[in-house]
Symmetry: C2
């Protein structure tokens, strides 16, 4: 372990007394807020009562070992329980928020906000930071009045209340949800300076719901029923065609995320979960499932969410999200501030095909690759967290990550993608991302050829 | 599937037109709020434009198939993106909160609030609903000023900034945290009417941190160093002794929960994670780790967090949380409202020894047992979700669950616990919980002998 990682700027001077032996100096019922109101500063007696930390400079200067500094938060009672029945982040974390790109869309009611991936760790996205994408704003749906209908090629058309849905067997699964347009701005070159904007249309939570097949079995899908139309209850009435094979496989009709009710912008009270497939199909505020014998060719699967190739034809029904990864730290929004020496490189990898098998990291723009360490639960179609711990020598680097999934698919370079698909695409860019690290620790979104 | 689960009170009348074929009726830029401000109600034209749901009663009366009812939320644009940069739950979920028992403690700054287990699903607790327990209120610690010291029997006493800590290799683990006093009020019989209060001093999140052993290795633990004192930076200066073997095994110095920074009431900016052991040892606002050759016998491990037996002696250092489970739905705060028929029984099980291997459910107070279905990730020292799907015939039941862990430990009855430990205890009650279900679907906390 390099010694320079520990900036010993403070040292504890106990004078032989254990810090924990001293009596507490907080006065019962005397909160910090009350003290501030009274304009009172506790002086020497309090400082003598509780050990604190003082600077190594003072200590090395041969100063008295008596306490010269005390941490403010040791001296006062904090807020009591249930000050916030529903808790909120520390005020020191106020910068950790979703951010939108209102310049990108004509209206905030059909727009997107991005998950701050550079501020997160592990594989679970907290509900308050999950990116949003909606086409007619966030519908306000009273759960008691909401209904889900199954109609079309079924033996028994049915309408379910939320309580009805909750009487079917439940499953809990951690899945990533990625918008097909994630990284879309990067098709024509490095555009946005931060992984929140280049890759922030992805989140990963534990969903609870009932397998869609149970509801379809209840209605009785006719033999000719090969497709399913999922429809949302918002003003956009979002509609997507889903092949019956997928619907009967692993889709969920979900009403919880990370344990609690879906957030309004995630489809409260109920949404479709289509594991590994593009987020647009995970219809929110789900109100109707129609069984048919062919796809419906809706707006969102023809003029949108198709991939216009160089020759003028378009790929359609490109549902699966391909193997992908990004380095979240360091990154343009999260520079290295500690100088040279031991550095933690942290990132995310995922694939709609299943688990991530391997992630490699390059420090030189793809010439040499090093195996990253995948840490934490490895769950199918969920985010995976990877690390590469290295000693930074202060030189400029070109940081890249490259993921491989359990089906053997390997994340391509952006130029390889363009060779196959041209430059007209918006969706399904899973190309390797590059951050240029400069000698000061700052980073920039760049492309290497 | 019993037919009565689907209350077909609404039916869709399409008149041959697919619901999704009609043009949207929302007017661009015309939000619901704006409409309400203008006192305008959209009338027949809007209703004709978008298919809606209407009651089966109207349909069966031979009424016209034209739409007679339209859902309000289909008609108006909702709020746009980043109205809430940090998202919040739906207003319809305002009842899903932590609740305190201020009558139980002398002051709110040394008290507890409880996780609403009956409102949650899966195994992840959202950060805003994780129970609180603190002894001098919630310390407000500026992360840039916070320091963590390692001193005592070490080669190199060290002081770490938060940035220093974050340069060590990281791990991500899902663990439950249970207060030793969880279910403590139940020692002398059924007391509190709801699993939020009987079992709500537990939560389960994904923690990110550095293994404690890396920091201890950096300081160099001397051969005589067999114990560790962990100390908090709040006004209580919470202190607990931890055997070095555990410290070097799986403890984490953690700064993230469910991906984001620790919440203030959970020890922001840094806490100790002591997997499988009682929550009191997971010292919050962690500021000091002292290495010693024997335990410190602090207040919180002598007069508190020990178990007074019937013969007047006390068990101490009873760190591990034993195998335990509780039925969260139905339960006193979450009665059955759907009447007879298919019913989902949902619950949680956990053990400080590792994974849960099996959960059994009884409907008759422990005479007959049925294997429950454990669903979702099964991770060591994490909550496990179990289900038992059954047809309720409307009769009175005595609901119980009994967990077994991978070490073979089986959850005991409360009376078996009392036989061994008497009735003086507060902590470590992992006895089987009983809910009495009455014919109306209501539930009550009871004991069966």
């Amino acid at each position: 372990m390099p010694h320079d990682i520990c900036k010993i700027s403070y040292i504890y001077m106990s004078g032989g007394m254990r810090m924990s032996d001293g009596p507490g100096t907080s006065e019962r019922g005397l909160s910090r807020r009350n003290l501030l109101k009274r304009g009172l500063a506790i002086g020497g007696t309090a400082a003598a009562g509780l050990a604190g930390l003082r600077s190594a400079a003072a200590a090395s200067a041969g100063g008295d070992p008596a306490i010269t500094e005390i941490q403010d938060w040791n001296r006062y009672l904090g807020e009591g329980v249930v000050t916030r029945p529903y808790g909120t982040p520390s005020p020191f974390e106020a910068h950790v928020v979703r951010r939108d790109v209102s310049w990108l869309t004509a209206d905030a009611t059909s727009s997107v906000s991005f998950t701050p991936l550079h501020e997160l760790e592990g594989i679970i996205t907290p509900n308050g930071l999950c990116f949003e994408r909606h086409h007619a704003g966030v519908a306000e749906v009273p759960p008691d009045e909401h209904r889900l209908m199954i109609n079309g090629l079924v033996d028994r058309p049915l309408v379910f209340t939320m309580e009805d849905i909750k009487r079917f067997p439940r499953e809990n699964r951690v899945y990533f949800l990625e918008c097909a347009a994630n990284s879309g701005m990067e098709w024509r070159g490095a555009q946005l300076n931060g992984c929140q904007f280049t890759h922030g249309m992805v989140h990963c939570v534990m969903y609870t719901g009932t397998p869609l097949r149970y509801l379809l079995e209840e209605a009785g899908v006719k033999t000719a029923g090969k497709w399913l139309l999922a429809e949302g209850a918002d003003a956009a009435a979002m509609t997507r065609s889903i092949p019956m094979e997928k619907a009967l496989d692993d889709c969920l009709v979900a009403w919880k995320m990370n344990g609690e009710a879906l957030r309004p912008e995630q489809g409260y009270p109920v949404r479709l979960v289509v594991p590994g497939w593009e987020g647009n199909m995970w219809v929110k505020w789900l109100r109707r499932l129609e069984v048919g014998d062919q796809p419906w060719e809706q707006r969102e699967e023809t003029s949108k969410y198709t991939d216009l190739l160089a020759n003028g034809t378009a790929r359609k029904f490109t549902w699966g999200m391909e193997v992908k990864s990004v380095i979240t730290n360091p990154s343009p929004q999260a520079p290295i501030t500690h100088g040279r020496g031991r550095t933690v490189l942290s990132g995310l990898a995922w694939s709609g095909n299943g688990r991530i098998k391997r992630v490699d990291v390059s420090l030189d723009g793809g010439r040499n690759w090093h195996a990253a360490r995948i840490d934490g639960p490895s769950l199918p179609m969920a985010l995976h967290r990877f690390y590469y711990d290295f000693d930074w020598d202060g030189s400029e680097l070109l940081l890249q990550s490259r993921a491989m999934d359990e089906e053997g698919f390997v994340q391509p370079t952006k130029s390889a993608l363009r060779t196959v698909r041209g430059e007209n695409s918006i969706y399904h860019n899973n190309g390797i991302q590059t951050w240029h690290l400069n000698a000061e620790g700052g980073l920039e979104n760049v492309e290497v050829s």
